[in-house]
Symmetry: C2
Subunit: 234 residues, 2 copies
């Protein structure tokens, strides 16, 4: 019996770094922290390995251990995250707050991720609305669900079998969705199109109203236009 067939090691990615990142992702799903043993079980490595990974992350403030040794994500991550897409978020922030305030609804900036997904990069809630939606920054949704993704698709070349709403959005300049990612919520989004880089983001609002989306559409189109005029990637 010639040992095991062929483990075929992957020389293209780094296993140790992969494990370290999995620790971070595991911790982000564990709001109340974990022990070293739980981390080891959670990602399927030996306890000693988890120990070394945690210590390394800790040195970089990517995780920390509280008074009784429980491990949670560390504030170093907020410093790193602050540098993600700085120029885009810098110009988008005032536009989003204005939009949220003017419409009395939650405004969001969403970027495409991979070929079929979109991630919320920024979410701004209105200050003085009677009621409004809240959802998590960093959230990922399929590109073909929700107004933000539809708006992004509408700024790309048509795909075979694309939803009818995309073609409609392409004509109107903004996309509308209802109860696709969140029950009872209507989304209205417009693509932010950079002359140089194509559709870099979408900007939109989540409203509770069910009637005519046209005024909202005009508002998000205008907001997207403002951002596109200011963003210039190298």
């Amino acid at each position: 019996m010639p040992t095991t067939p062929a483990p075929q090691p992957d020389t293209r990615t780094s296993k140790t770094l992969h494990n370290g990142i999995e620790v971070l992702e595991l911790l982000s799903r564990s709001p109340h922290g974990l022990s070293v043993t739980e981390v080891a079980e959670g990602i399927g490595v030996h306890r000693t390995v988890a120990h070394r990974l945690v210590r390394t992350l800790e040195e970089h403030r990517l995780c920390k251990r509280d008074a009784f040794k429980r491990i949670t994500l560390g504030p170093g991550l907020v410093a790193l995250a602050e540098s993600v897409e700085v120029d885009l978020r810098e110009v988008a922030r005032p536009v989003l707050t204005d939009l949220a305030e003017a419409q009395g609804a939650t405004a969001h900036l969403v970027v495409p991720e991979g070929p079929d997904e979109a991630r919320a990069l920024m979410v701004v809630e209105p200050r003085h609305a009677r009621a409004h939606i809240a959802f998590r920054t960093g959230r990922v949704d399929p590109l073909d669900k929700g107004s933000a993704g539809l708006a992004l698709l509408s700024a790309m070349p048509p795909r075979p079998g694309e939803r009818e709403e995309v073609a409609l959005a392409r004509r109107r300049g903004y996309a509308v969705s209802h109860a696709e990612v969140t029950n009872a919520v209507t989304g209205v989004s417009a693509p932010v199109i950079s002359p140089r880089n194509g559709p870099v983001a979408s900007i939109g609002i989540s409203v509770l109203e069910l009637d005519d989306p046209a005024p909202f559409g005009a508002a998000v189109v205008e907001a997207a236009r403002r951002i596109a005029g200011m963003v210039h990637l190298p």
Copy 2:
């Protein structure tokens, strides 16, 4: 010549993970992105190694490559960062916005990091002030510089050789600093003290006024008290 003296490998931390994190830190200092070669030079590893690290980070969306192969930080980081100190930030957010609005100044939540540093976890700017300070979330300052750090120190046992301002803050309940971290800016901060965990944060504002800090002090003390009453760590 008996080879090299003694390389003494470090078994306590993980070199590969360390390198991967250094890539992230390097990228956060490089707003316009880097090439693989630049990454390799920046952290002092072979180009092939940098290549593998980048690819691994990319799979987890911690970095991404734009149209012309330049590498920047990826949106996966904002999802991770969103989970840092969730409960604390959840309760602090409305308090900070109220504080910023009421005082017409930038409000901030700062947490201790290591024995001698403090990091800004959250920064909220006022909506309608004539002028206000802005600074970066995630920023690190020495614990004995600036009102936030002084406030944290004032809630800890006295240290040998501590600044006089700390004792003063201990008596008044809030700390005041002027032009210590930023020119011409006065900071006023109060510690957030959890009955169970001691000083977990400080909350404060950065103002341009130079006169009586007492009203600001009362406001930050009240804000810190509100947060302390709501935060309950496991």
